[in-house]
Subunit: 337 residues, 2 copies
């Protein structure tokens, strides 16, 4: 089969790779129906994270089960499945607390921008849809494997609830998904911080009540104006840079919560948090915990997180997909084998 | 009247001071029924925080209203009142969110180890009991002005709920109050970290199901043994030192919450928090927010937070009260005018 391999900075190649096979009795092998490129894949692409050796890449997928190991009981060949970007057994003490991203026996896997994928811990990682989903739902189902679940995690971590005022920092696919999550959780004021017109449009479609293009003091003043002068109940931090994190802290009201999902690239002012009674919570999203609910919302067409895909390419053009995201010509690129 | 004044390190004197008077229409002046010494008063006493000029000291009190300003409507002369250690208007946008410690027009006040006290923002700070309380309830009512409300804030911030497993770091009056709060909020495993037999005894009376005397790796191993090997759902950090904060982070399970009320004297490992999906929340307790509920619990004799007072002295012996706490001969000293 063929799949994407990263060989170095800006060097993604679509090439022959060995067909994945079931190696553990808990494995499944799926035939990919759709995959995509993640903002976090760009760290290696851009050279921010060094590529030490050529590596299959990609961690988001939906597909059809081809083969399962003897111990797999919840999915079978022919099933259409969605799954998270980390594998988890979904049975350990940590999974039982709903924190599958930190499963005691789980971990990451790479190489999903490919025609076939080996999924470890299939029972604890995948969820089958009832029957084959309509083709137009594929983008939204694919979004569940990472960005939508991660935006949801930001909103849950920030304790968004009916009536909350929410600021979303970051207008990438995760931030936009955070807007959608906040709306679903009942927030009534949802402020998207965005300077990019196409992203602003998606934010509004997802439920943003306000869009603020300014940053720094000007942006803060506008947030305050929309939140009784005190800041938001909840802030979703979907970037991770020191600057974005500092802004997120500033946008929260005293006693507010900041949900963190941007991979940390900078410190947080913990003393400032304390004296203002602001809290932080979050990390890598436990996709499997949210998947049943989010899958239900997609299948009932109550959410349409697939709108974050604004470019679709054949999987064979994966290199162009990276370039389009790197140059910000696309929010997120869907790849079709 | 007479009251305590701190003149420098280890120099507390009980001396003549001007009678407090109503200076703002929102003020009340109360005659002190009981006051006490706070762990935080010891920073100045011990010289950790410099005493720049002689200052009346003390911020915990219960008393009887003697005089109120024209704008005061909810308390009147003769009322027995409890109140927080910060004044708040209880009407601003921040107070409306239940975060009265960060009231937009509030602040601190000192000098409560005295025969009379001027309370700013009386309506937003004080709460009158229905009638005069029984004398044996005075210690528990006094505990509401700081330590019990602060322990409660730690538990609320750490998201303690029915069935939670909880570790309490710190066996001072606040930590012990945190144990009591966790029990009230329905925690079923409550682990007090304490090496001091009298404090261990109070912790057990307050609802601790386990006491761990060890620290470091040995203490962590014991916490894990009691929490399915993964750590506690909630940790109450009631010390504030860098070491205590690091321990608190270690005791929490992946996805757990750490409620911070110890005044910060050290950083927190925010990257470690992120990768383990652990959250932090807390700060200075919004006493006024919790006061109605806690007062009700005390008056119905459902909680007895006054047990943290293990020494009672006449107010005139306030210097000895400081010494007893400094030398850890007492957990907390109650002062009677």
């Amino acid at each position: 089969m063929r799949g994407a391999v990263i060989h170095g900075t800006k060097d993604i190649r679509f090439e022959d790779r060995p067909d994945p096979v079931v190696t553990e009795p808990t494995d499944a092998v799926i035939r990919t129906v759709a995959a995509c490129v993640c903002g976090s894949d760009l760290w290696r692409y851009r050279g921010i994270q060094e590529v030490l050796e050529s590596t299959p890449i990609g961690h988001e997928y939906v597909g059809i089960v081809e083969q399962v190991g003897d111990a797999v009981t919840t999915v079978k060949p022919g099933d259409f499945v969605v799954g998270g970007f980390l594998h988890s057994d979904n049975t350990c003490a940590v999974c039982a607390k709903g924190m599958q991203a930190n499963c005691q026996h789980g971990g990451g896997f790479d190489g999903c921008q490919a025609e076939k994928i080996r999924i470890p811990d299939a029972d604890g990682t995948l969820l089958a849809t009832p029957g084959q989903p309509d083709a137009d739902l594929i983008p939204s189902l694919l979004a569940l494997s990472d960005v939508m679940a991660t935006g949801w995690h930001a909103a849950v971590s920030a304790d968004v609830r009916p009536g909350s005022s929410v600021v979303v920092v970051g207008d990438g696919a995760v931030g936009l998904s955070g807007v959608l999550a906040a709306a679903q959780l009942g927030a009534t004021t949802i402020i998207a911080m965005s300077r990019h017109e196409p992203r602003q449009r998606v934010a509004r479609e997802f439920g943003a009540t306000h869009v603020i293009a300014e940053r720094g003091d000007a942006g803060l003043a506008q947030v305050r104006e929309l939140t009784d002068g005190i800041g938001a109940d909840a802030v979703l931090e979907c970037v991770g840079t020191e600057n974005a994190r500092a802004q997120a802290v500033a946008y929260a009201r005293p006693g507010g919560m900041i949900g963190l999902v941007g991979v940390p690239h900078g410190d947080l002012p913990t003393d400032e948090l304390f004296w203002a009674n602001k809290g932080i919570r979050g990390g890598v999203a436990p996709v499997r915990a949210y998947l049943p609910h989010l899958l239900d919302l997609v299948l009932r067409r109550e959410i349409d997180p697939g709108k974050v895909f604004d470019l679709t390419l054949p999987l064979s053009e994966v290199a162009e997909a990276y370039l389009a995201m790197d140059e910000r010509r696309a929010i997120k690129v869907l790849l079709q084998p």
